[in-house]
């Protein structure tokens, strides 16, 4: 079991979302992706979409306007 870190700082929408989606293809159930993003909209999109796709999603604010999202790949 391992976790994966994606650096999405300064990327335009929807690149952070695509990064997560691409990574999800590579990893096994229960593994965790942590993505860091400063894009307010991408943060909202990723958290609601990943939830809908059946993954667990956790969020924390690491600085003003910078968030880390943890996506725990679900069995869905």
């Amino acid at each position: 079991m391992s976790n994966h870190f994606l650096d999405g700082l300064g990327e335009m929408c929807p690149v952070p979302n695509i990064m997560v989606r691409e990574k999800l293809k590579e990893i096994a159930v229960g593994e965790v992706i942590v993505i860091e993003t400063d894009h307010s909209c991408a943060r909202q999109t990723i958290q609601s979409e990943m939830k809908k796709l059946g993954h667990r999603v956790m969020i924390r604010k690491v600085a003003k306007g910078v968030w880390q999202l943890a996506i725990i790949k679900g069995r869905s």
Binding site: N3, G10, E11, P14, I18, G30, V34, Q44, I59, G65
Partner: protein
């Protein structure tokens, strides 16, 4: 504390504006409202067009449909009672071409015009560049419009649906189209999300017992699980009327809190925008529009550079003309657009989320400038952007809004394919990805 400071700022500027020109404060306050809602809901017309093609998500598309449905209702009441029609712009090939160019540009620029204003307020450098492109494109579009002969695009005509179908016919058709599109969007998302390749295969499942419990110890302080609150409150469940009311009350409460402190869902944003846009139309007598004013701004800048756009024949011919002194600071549109930028800034600041959001590489800067220019040019052709032509146009029951929507989607699809090759795929490939990264 922050909220109080921001409230005082907004009020103080409103007072100053009321001394500068009649009614300017109202435009300012509505601008603040629009910017605030756009920011909190992450309300993005680009995502509404792009995501169905790119990821299959239609959350934003459905939110846009909801906002138009509400504004249609509000605008119709205003028109019936006051006789004041909304945005019914000339429809012709210019509408089609404008939508195509605009749709492609907005995907590349990472935001349409309202999204650009909102993200400028939120500190995105990329959108400031897109804005520069927007001004340039508006100016080029205006100049080009002057050079064309009037019949280049063939005749244009204003089609106000109730004139042709009657009010009941027009409204029935409008709501049929909106409900149909909404259902189609929902089905599309369900279909796409059911076949996402990232989903696990059955074989993997049997290997992993309760994976959720495993190895989350490294997730140290400060993490909040999304949607945990709903599952922890069983009394909110149930299909009875009481359960429904409890859920509705909880939803309103969390939306109000999100509106003040963090974020609301796109659907909530759509409802609020529909209401706010109706209130704006009722208050100032015309629907929300952004780009006409941006053209004046661009002309003002061009004049500062020693040029004379006010002598261009199309400016002389247009009904509003260009004020010879170009005192754009007394224009209602200026108060409105600056209000939108500031509204997003204040929203971001109150939530303690504002930062200068630098672009990652030159590629994004070029994309912003090019996409912005395309949007500026396109909006001159179609006489409005996603707000003026799409949102206000369709809500005013004008056929040009619907024609614009169709070509916008076509242009947006082209934009997605271009952006995938030029922007998205290279970015995803070169991004940092560290295994077992130490997080702090």
């Amino acid at each position: 504390m922050r909220a109080a400071v921001v409230f005082l700022c907004i009020a103080a500027i409103a007072v100053v504006l009321s001394l500068v020109g009649p009614g300017l404060y109202a435009h300012w306050l509505f601008g603040i409202t629009f910017g605030w809602i756009l920011h909190r809901a992450g309300f993005c017309f680009v995502a509404a067009v792009r995501d169905p093609v790119l990821t299959g998500s239609t959350a934003l598309a459905r939110a846009v449909i909801v906002s138009i449905a509400i504004a249609t209702f509000g605008f119709s009441i205003i028109t019936i009672y006051t006789g004041e029609t909304g945005t019914v712009a000339p429809l012709g090939w210019n509408t089609v071409l404008g939508g195509l160019v605009f749709g492609t540009g907005m995907v590349i620029a990472g935001g349409c015009v309202s999204g650009t204003l909102m993200r400028m307020g939120d500190g995105f450098v990329m959108q400031w560049l897109a804005f520069a492109g927007l001004l340039a494109g508006s100016l080029i579009g205006t100049r080009a419009g002057c050079l064309w002969s009037a019949d280049l695009f063939g005749p244009t005509t204003r089609v106000f649906l109730p004139h042709h179908l009657g009010w009941s016919g027009a409204l029935a058709l409008q709501y049929l189209a909106l409900i149909g599109l909404w259902l189609l969007a929902l089905r599309w998302e369900n279909r796409c999300f059911a076949q996402v390749p990232g989903r696990s295969e059955p074989a993997e499942i049997s290997n992993t017992e309760e994976p959720e419990e495993a190895d989350l110890d490294w997730l140290d302080a400060g993490w909040v699980e999304i949607g945990a609150a709903e599952t922890e409150a069983p009394d909110a469940a149930g299909s009875s009327l009481g359960g429904f009311l409890r859920r509705a009350r909880a939803g309103v409460k969390s939306s109000l809190k999100g509106l003040l402190t963090d974020s609301v869902t796109p659907a909530v944003g759509g409802v609020l925008l529909g209401i706010a846009a109706t209130a704006y139309f009722a208050t100032v007598g015309r629907p929300w529009g952004i780009t006409t004013e941006l053209t004046y701004w661009a002309s003002g800048v061009w004049r500062l550079l020693g040029q004379h756009p006010e002598e261009w024949p199309c400016f002389l011919a247009s009904s509003r003309g260009i004020p010879s002194d170009l005192r754009i600071f007394t224009h209602p549109g200026t108060a409105l657009n600056l209000g939108t930028i500031c509204g997003a800034f204040f929203a971001s600041f109150v939530a303690d989320q504002w930062r200068l959001r630098l672009i990652k590489n030159w590629r994004l800067g070029v994309a912003a400038l090019a996409g912005g220019t395309m949007m500026g040019y396109g909006s001159r052709l179609s006489m409005g952007c996603n707000i003026g032509a799409l949102f206000s146009g369709t809500s005013s029951l004008s056929l040009h809004g619907w024609v614009y929507l169709v070509s916008l989607v076509a242009g947006g699809t082209v934009g997605v394919y271009l952006a995938r090759i030029l922007l998205f795929n290279p970015a995803v490939k070169t991004t940092t990805s560290r295994k077992q990264a130490g997080l702090s």
